[in-house]
C-alpha cells in the first residue's frame, strides 16, 4: 500500500499530441479519453462485487454488522471511496456510521473533551484552539473545505497514514481511543494505537467510537510543511504541547511528529528537553536534536529524508511558538501547582 495514500489512476496510455478527431488515430485518442473517464466513475474493476451497504441507527447495530467478515466502517469516505474505486480496498459490507448520534457527538462541557469518531474536520475546526490547539490546527489544514466537510477524526486515525494531520495532535494531547466490538469496549491510548503505515491495533470487527481528550495543561499546536498552501499532504509535521508554572518554567511538554516515521510518533526525549526550561532557544535546539535522533524519515515522491530532517527543527520552533502563546493565553495560566 502506498505509504502516503493512493494515487489517481494513471491513463491507460498517454494521449497523443497533435492528432485531431478526423483521423483513425484521432478517433483512437477520443476512445482512450472515454476509457479513462469511465474508469474514474463508480464502476469497480470487473470481478469485484459492489458489496453491501447498511446504515445502522445505533452503535449496537453497527457492532453487530461489524462481525460480518469484510465489514468496513464508512464515515467521511474521503479515503475509503477512492481506495475502493482503485481496488486497494474491497470491503464486502459498508457500515455507514453517520446516523449514529453518539459517534457524531462532541462534548466540551467537562474536564475530558469527548469527540465522536464520526465528528468531521469541519466540526473539530470550530473547537477551542486554546484547549485543543494541536488537534484543531490539524483539522483546519487537512485537505480542502470539501474534504473537511466529510472527513472524520475516526477515519484519519484508523486510516493511520503516517502523515495524518490530526494524529500528532492526538498524541501530544494524550488522547484515548474508545473501540467497540461484540467483545465489548476497550480504551487504547493514541500512543499505542498506530502499528505501522496504514495499520492500527484495531481488530477487523472493531470500530472507533470516540476520542477522549483529558484536560491537558498548557497550550498546543500543530505545524506542517507542505509545498502547496492547501489540498496537500504533510511533507512532515510537528505537534507540540507545553505547560508553564506561574514562574515561567515549563513543567510539562510533549512533542510528536508525523510523516517522519512509519507511524505518527510521540518523542518523549524532545518533551523532556523542554521541561524544566523556559523554552528558550537553547532548550528548543536540544529538543530539535532529540527529535532528529528519534525519527526515521524516508525518501519518497514527496521529499527526501534529508529534506525532512532539514525542515523539522523549524517546524518544531513554529509549533512551540504557537503552543507557548496558547499556554500563556489560557485562563489560570494552565497549570495548577
Amino acid at each position: 500500500m502506498d505509504l502516503y495514500g493512493p494515487r489517481p489512476r494513471p491513463l491507460a496510455s498517454p494521449p497523443r499530441v497533435g492528432q485531431g478527431n478526423s483521423t483513425e488515430a484521432g478517433r483512437g485518442f477520443t476512445a482512450q479519453v472515454q476509457d479513462v473517464r469511465t474508469e474514474a466513475l463508480s464502476s469497480l474493476p470487473s470481478g469485484t462485487s459492489a458489496g453491501r451497504y447498511v446504515r445502522p441507527p445505533d452503535l449496537d447495530t453497527a457492532v453487530e454488522y461489524m462481525r460480518t467478515p469484510g465489514a468496513a466502517v464508512l464515515a467521511g469516505g474521503t479515503d475509503l471511496i477512492m481506495m475502493r474505486a482503485s481496488g486497494v480496498l474491497d470491503p464486502q459490507l459498508l457500515v455507514d456510521v453517520k446516523n449514529i448520534n453518539e459517534l457524531r457527538a462532541i462534548d466540551v462541557s467537562g474536564d475530558v473533551v469527548t469527540v465522536g469518531a464520526a465528528a468531521t474536520m469541519k466540526e473539530i475546526s470550530g473547537l477551542d484552539a486554546n484547549r485543543l490547539g494541536a488537534l484543531v490546527d490539524g483539522a483546519r489544514v487537512l485537505g480542502g473545505p470539501q474534504t473537511r466537510a466529510r472527513a472524520t477524526i475516526g477515519g484519519n486515525a484508523c486510516r493511520a497514514s503516517p502523515a495524518g494531520d490530526t494524529l500528532a495532535g492526538l498524541l501530544v494531547l494524550g488522547a484515548q481511543i474508545e473501540l467497540a466490538s461484540s467483545n465489548g469496549v476497550r480504551v487504547v491510548s493514541a500512543g499505542s494505537f498506530f502499528a505501522g503505515p496504514g495499520s492500527t491495533i484495531c481488530r477487523p470487527d472493531e470500530l472507533a467510537v470516540r476520542f477522549r481528550l483529558p484536560a491537558s495543561p498548557g497550550g498546543s499546536a500543530y505545524e506542517r510543511h507542505t509545498y502547496r498552501k492547501w489540498l496537500d499532504l504533510a511533507i512532515v509535521g510537528v505537534g507540540a504541547r507545553v505547560a508553564f508554572a506561574p514562574d515561567g518554567v515549563c513543567v510539562d511538554a510533549d512533542v510528536a511528529v508525523c510523516a517522519a516515521a512509519p507511524t505518527p510518533l510521540l518523542v518523549p526525549e524532545a518533551g523532556r528537553a523542554l521541561t524544566q526550561s523556559s523554552c528558550d532557544a537553547k532548550a528548543v535546539e536540544d529538543a530539535a536534536e532529540a527529535l532528529a535522533a528519534a525519527v526515521d524519515p524516508i525518501d519518497d515522491v514527496r521529499a527526501t529524508r534529508g529534506y525532512r530532517l532539514h525542515v523539522l527543527p523549524e517546524l518544531l520552533r513554529r509549533a512551540l511558538a504557537r503552543a507557548v502563546v496558547r499556554a500563556r493565553d489560557e485562563e489560570g495560566s494552565g497549570y495548577a501547582g
Binding site: 493512493p6 489517481p8 489512476r9 473517464r37 474514474a40 466513475l41 463508480s42 469497480l44 459492489a50 458489496g51 453491501r52 451497504y53 447498511v54 446504515r55 464508512l74 469516505g77 474521503t78 471511496i81 477512492m82 475502493r84 474505486a85 459490507l93 459498508l94 455507514d96 453517520k98 469541519k122 485537505g143 480542502g144 473545505p145 470539501q146 474534504t147 466537510a149 466529510r150 498552501k229 492547501w230 489540498l231
Partner: protein, 165 residues
Amino acid sequence: MPDDGVTAQSAFTCNGVERRFSGAPDRLLIDVLRDDLGLTGTKLGCGTGDCGACTVLLDGDVVNSCLVYAAECDGADVQTIEGVAETTHGKRLIDQFVETSAVQCGICTPGFVVTGAALLANANRRLDRKEITEALSGNLCRCTGYYPIIAAIEAAMDELGEGSS
C-alpha cells in the same frame, strides 16, 4: 431500507425536488446526478477529491460529489450548480463571473460558483481576499489563474454589502 443491503436506497431532495435512489451501494453521487438525473452541470475532474470540479452542496456544506455514495444521502438536501444558479447569490455571482471574465474552458466554473455562492450565503461580513482564497482552496482552475474568480466573488460580496439593510 432493504434487508440484504445489496441494493442501497436513499431518499434525498435535489435542488428542492424529492428524489429516490435505488441501486448499487457504490454508485457515486456525481454519477446519479449526471447520468440518472440529467444534471450535467456538475463536472467530473479528478475523481479523487483533489480538484473540486464536482462540488455540490450537501446539507449546506461544499462537498466533492465524487467522494459521496448516493446511498449515503438519505435525508439529505443536495444542491447542484443547476439549483444554485437559480438562487439570488448564485445569479449575482454568475453575473460577476461574466463581468470579470472568470470563465475560460468552464470545467471548473460550476464547482467555483457552488463554492462561491455558499460563501456568499454563509458570510456574515465582507471577507477579505485571504479568507475568500482559503474558502476556494478546494477548487482548482487551470485556465484563469484564479484572479478573475476571486474578483468576481469580491464584487458579489461588495454588491451584497451595498444592498443589505
